[in-house]
Symmetry: C3
Subunit: 266 residues, 3 copies
């Protein structure tokens, strides 16, 4: 049987013992699993950022991968810990909305609350469920324990409002920035469903308005732009992005995750 994968998304940072303790815990239970760091550098407590990063990465992992997402500002409180399964993937995360993209866009097979404590770390802390709950459950799940063994079914997981574009008049949408990537590119929540690409791959008839101006230049890839003018482009996650070649659109335009923008047909 193929080696299974556990992917990790956390806000623990890279400097301390936290990510290592999680990885050790998983491998202690199942040394045959591939533990893969997606990122431990989510902005501390930023649930929507983690939700977005998960939505852009999980699909590329092998079938039956277990995705562990620990951005968990309410750890220790009564918030539930969830196991969610879809056709080819499992997710372990606090019930705080970090799985909102999964719960609203994928066909969900099962949702369980992690309550069976014999699967947890023997000494359970109240501040580090990444190590004491999610990691050991990931280990046991990867060994073939059935989802229903970990706790009771859940019917009302917390789902956050992922900002969706609103058509305010024909061919004009209000939307927002979902994410700023490490290069400073601004990923919007607009897609070719709103204004399609032309045959050459440009969002040619689109323009974007933002707080400080308007973007009419369109490109297919970064290096197609020779200057420092921002442009609109279809990004690798399927969303339109605002970018500057060899520069940070976020810095230049003063926009960030959550900033409101508009998409208009020219």
């Amino acid at each position: 049987m193929a080696r299974r994968c556990v992917s990790l998304i956390t806000d623990f940072g890279l400097a301390g013992p936290f990510a290592g303790a999680m990885k050790g815990t998983i491998l202690r239970i199942n040394p045959e699993v591939n533990v893969v760091d997606v990122t431990h550098s989510i902005t501390p407590g930023d649930i929507l950022e983690a939700a977005f990063v998960l939505s852009c990465s999980f699909r590329f992992f092998p079938d039956r991968t277990i995705h562990v997402v620990v951005v968990d500002p309410k750890v220790g409180s009564q918030r539930r810990a969830l196991l969610v399964s879809i056709e080819n993937h499992f997710f372990l995360a606090p019930d705080n909305g970090v799985l909102s993209y999964i719960l609203t866009r994928e066909e969900v097979y099962g949702i369980f609350s992690l309550t069976e404590e014999h699967f947890f770390q023997k000494t359970l802390s109240s501040t580090f469920h990444g190590r004491d709950v999610f990691a050991p459950v990931a280990g046991w799940l990867s060994k073939g324990v059935e989802s229903a063994q970990f706790g009771e079914p859940v019917t009302d997981p917390l789902v956050l409002d992922i900002p969706k574009p609103q058509e305010v008049r024909p061919k004009a949408w209000k939307g927002s920035i979902l994410y700023v990537d490490t290069f400073g590119n601004l990923i919007t929540n607009f897609t070719p469903e709103h204004i399609p690409l032309d045959e050459q791959g440009y969002p040619a008839v689109a323009k974007v308005r933002h707080l400080h101006g308007e973007i009419v230049k369109t490109r297919r890839y970064f290096a197609e732009s020779a200057d420092k003018e921002p442009f609109l482009m279809l990004g690798s996650s399927g969303y339109y992005e605002i970018a500057i070649n060899n520069g940070s659109a976020a810095m230049e335009l003063g926009l960030k995750a959550g900033s409101e923008i508009a998409l208009l047909q020219r």
Copy 2:
């Protein structure tokens, strides 16, 4: 036989070839091993920080894991390179005190000086023993080479003074901050052995004095605090921590690793 683990703690940073060259070296000798990054972001040269991170992570790894800790400001000098074994773990590190928690708190089975050069990288640099000494020895050790094969027994490893609380009068201790985590939480060297938790899990009868004030608020987990007042809480490593919910206690209070504090019974 289960795949073995090699865990890595270094101050090499993440930008250069150093961590990669170590990992490649280990896998070149034993491609069946799981090499796990705990952290490469120890403050350069900070031996006590690395010692603390090791003490909080090693126990969660599988039995027979080899923990490689390379914070080694005296690399190239006559300082020895050590292999230390305890019941279920092996440690490879320079003889500079980075194993102080292990050497003083665990039952040590054996300590050897790494001198058998045929286990080293063929070309031995004088500035990168992580790659040229510790990584290849980790590889061979993971393949089953006996500890005593790597060099002579050592009886006098360097042990640094890990700050321990001193009882200055009944129910009053002088102590210090051991570590500041990535969220800015201040991990003290006080534990429930000094002042116990009450039945609900609060260090209720404790208060902490620091250079700039006093902390009397106690909590069990972060989100139990609704404001920005610092509180005392039992942390996930078994020490009392000073924390601020959604904030950095280190920044707010102006304290850092090594800062003196006092724990008092109310």
Copy 3:
């Protein structure tokens, strides 16, 4: 058969979904491979930096490792994607000079342009060939697909000018800084081929001139220097380095990658 390795060098940073999506893609095709992060923290778009980091790390990996180097500012344009093989290693990278050290210093067995799209991600983006081209090709290559299956041979890969020392008069060379490591050490392009080490291991008869002064102190390792004066030393990659013990030579001397220096025999 031994598990194969895929090593990763990118400028994607650690905060987003990018590195994770690449790793997932590789493991989806070949779950038996060891995927090893060398670094994802190359300065964005800095091809020479990535080329240098690769040159210092690849040799330590197991035979038949596949090194994936994605610093790719022209992704989406007509720049080719290459597979290069040498005796014991494979390289996958854009044809932008990032393999210049390999192409000029190693015996090259084969160079192919990656054009066979059935090996790519099914939906091919124009901005993320790390995930959509290089990662899947790495996966298939690790499964044993022959190099020639991925595309046509290439005879004219782009090779950048790696700065080489020029002898301006007997025993006097003009050279430059190749790389600044995470500690601030300045790796020069001078080696013992220019001015040899003495029997004790010091570059004793050498001195270095830079924009702001001269360095005459020589050392064999960092801790041999007790003060904050910069010194010249043979570094772990085989180049002479300018370093300051417990300090950043780059900051102190105001030098960086590309800065010109001179090496002179005293």
